[in-house]
């Protein structure tokens, strides 16, 4: 074995307990950073604006429900107009929430590795006895926790608004919220991986473009459903698994109307930016492995990087 190969890999060892303690230090540092850098206040202001407009939209939508024709000319088809409007509005709110959550997750993880090393922020931390994997995972967990909490909070408020204005509540409220939060956790992990290879600006652009690609996959699936094109549906499903935040979003949409049947249920399955799909526990397990894989890849690449 050569002397060079005997050299310790930078940041590649350490007791689990000690690294867990240091990880909590880094995570708290990351949370404080997000609070002090005014990312959250800006996102909070944007969110407040969105919720105000959403409340206005929901109010007028439900007020005008009575004027809509909700039966077929023959009068046999019964559509639950309140469920239709409520689920559609909530689905739209979920899309907006996911988008804002994706932007927040991206900003919280901006420059975590390459960006911070280029500016010289990372080196003083890495000269301390903290493993590189610890720093990476701790920052990912902190960003994911903030982004997930944010998504859950915004989703809860939008559901409350929908309930207050239209007396509508999703069928599986908790599942929908958790799947949406999981989608943002996946985006956070993607962003952390990208941060190892690209500078901050390129990282932001890459992650948001991947987010757009996921949404496009959802749209393709909807078009495939409408045209009954198996190819489009297959492409959409493959893309959704490659970028599982989209599959989680579709699963969250499904949870809105999981117990709604008949024509209303069919109409509601055509959710905005991706049809609702019930993927079940397999998706959650896959998403978990996917995130672990992303962070593992990111750590491996980070440990090989000269800073």
């Amino acid at each position: 074995m050569s002397a060079a190969s005997r050299q310790a890999a930078p940041g590649g060892d350490g007791g689990i307990g000690a690294q867990a303690r240091l990880g909590s230090v880094i995570a708290r540092y990351a949370v404080r950073e997000s609070l002090r850098r005014r990312v959250l206040p800006v996102v909070g202001a944007l969110t407040a604006a969105f919720l105000v407009f959403y409340a206005l939209g929901a109010h007028f939508a439900f007020r005008e429900l009575g004027e809509l024709e909700t039966t077929s000319p023959s009068g046999f088809v019964d559509i639950d107009d309140r469920a239709l409007a409520g689920a559609t509005l909530t689905g739209l709110a979920m899309f907006a929430t996911l988008f804002l959550g994706a932007v927040l997750a991206t900003f919280l993880t901006l420059g975590v590795v390459r960006g911070d090393s280029e500016t010289g922020l990372l080196q003083p931390l890495l000269a301390r006895p903290v493993a590189r994997g610890t720093i990476l995972v701790a920052r990912a967990i902190a960003a994911a926790a903030i982004a997930a909490a944010y998504v859950l909070a915004v989703f809860a408020v939008s559901v409350a608004i929908t309930h207050l204005t239209g007396d509508y509540t999703p069928d599986q409220l908790l599942t929908a919220g958790l799947q949406l939060a999981a989608a943002v956790v996946v985006i956070t992990c993607i962003s952390v991986l990208v941060s190892v290879f690209t500078s901050s600006t390129a990282q932001g652009i890459t992650v948001l473009m991947l987010f757009g690609a996921g949404l496009t996959a959802g749209l393709l699936g909807q078009i495939g459903d409408a045209l009954e094109s198996a190819t489009l549906i297959d492409i959409s499903e493959w893309m959704s698994w490659m970028l599982p935040f989209e599959a989680l979003y579709q699963d969250a949409l499904y949870a809105l109307t999981a117990e709604t049947s008949g024509v209303t249920g069919f109409l509601l399955s055509l959710g905005p930016f991706g049809g609702a799909r019930d993927t079940g526990i397999v998706l959650d397990l896959f998403a978990l492995l996917y995130c672990a894989g992303l962070l593992g890849l990111a750590t491996a690449a980070f440990m090989r990087r000269d800073l």
């Binding site: 050569s2 002397a3 060079a4 005997r6 050299q7 310790a8 890999a9 930078p10 940041g11 060892d13 350490g14 000690a18 240091l22 230090v25 540092y29 404080r32 950073e33 002090r36 850098r37 500016t119 010289g120 922020l121 080196q123 003083p124 931390l125 890495l126 000269a127 301390r128 006895p129 903290v130 493993a131 090989r304 000269d306 800073l307």
Partner: protein
Amino acid sequence: MPERVAGEGAPALSVRGLGKRYGRGNVALDGVDLTVEGGELVGLLGPNGAGKSTLTKIACGLVAPSEGGVSVNGSAAGSLSARASIGYLAELFRFPVWLTAGELLELHQQLASSPGGRREREELLELVGLAEAVHVPTGEMSKGMQQRLGIAQALVGSPQLLLLDEPTSALDPAGRRLVRELLIELRGRGIAVLLNSHLLGEVERICDSVTIIDRGRVVAAGGAHELGGAGGVEIETASGVRRVENVERSAIPGIVRELVAAGESIYAVRETGSTLEDAYLAAVAEDHGTDGAPSR
């Protein structure tokens, strides 16, 4: 039986046959040997791009070597035990602008598992002349203040080896003097220091030994005054200035005694001739060819 302390007896920094290549052809370091003993203050000199910062970064685990070995207090450089015993100030560094000086030191105390608490933070800020800046965000500090805070940060946890990469580049003369005095004090406490600097006068004044590297190779090493070699001395006497060439520094008092014994009145004594700067320029020029151009 007392427990054996890890790295006991080992040099603070031991560099053996160190090589670093970036990509396929860019050689940053090539067979570098260097030793820093405990309580020794070693200057690392060399032109821009010589490999000084790369060597320092390898020593603290930020860069992986291509060949050779580096150990810090007996542990492989980059390992957690090695990093637990060093303090590092990078040439290009930045601290989070939203952290105050006190919070930054507290963060590093937590990462270094230092039990020093508030008292250590206050002492370190006092040591670098920033006692009043404990609540000042780093984003509101001048570059010089940040550099002094960087030195305080490097001292968190009482490291056994300090790796300082251009620690005085942004300091005014008063700040440089403060750092010089601080480094001498640290040496007195047994802390080893590797000082990477372009300021030859500073290195000459405080370092025990000097290593000059150029294009990744050691081109000269030794005591600062040994490297400077025999120069001369100018002595102002009542009968005019007397110049004596090629005298060792140690011979100067004897020359002065002789003059006094001969009835001369001495007004001033100045060393002249070969200095560390001359030695540095000679070593680098030799490595580049006699005309000073790179000998590729």
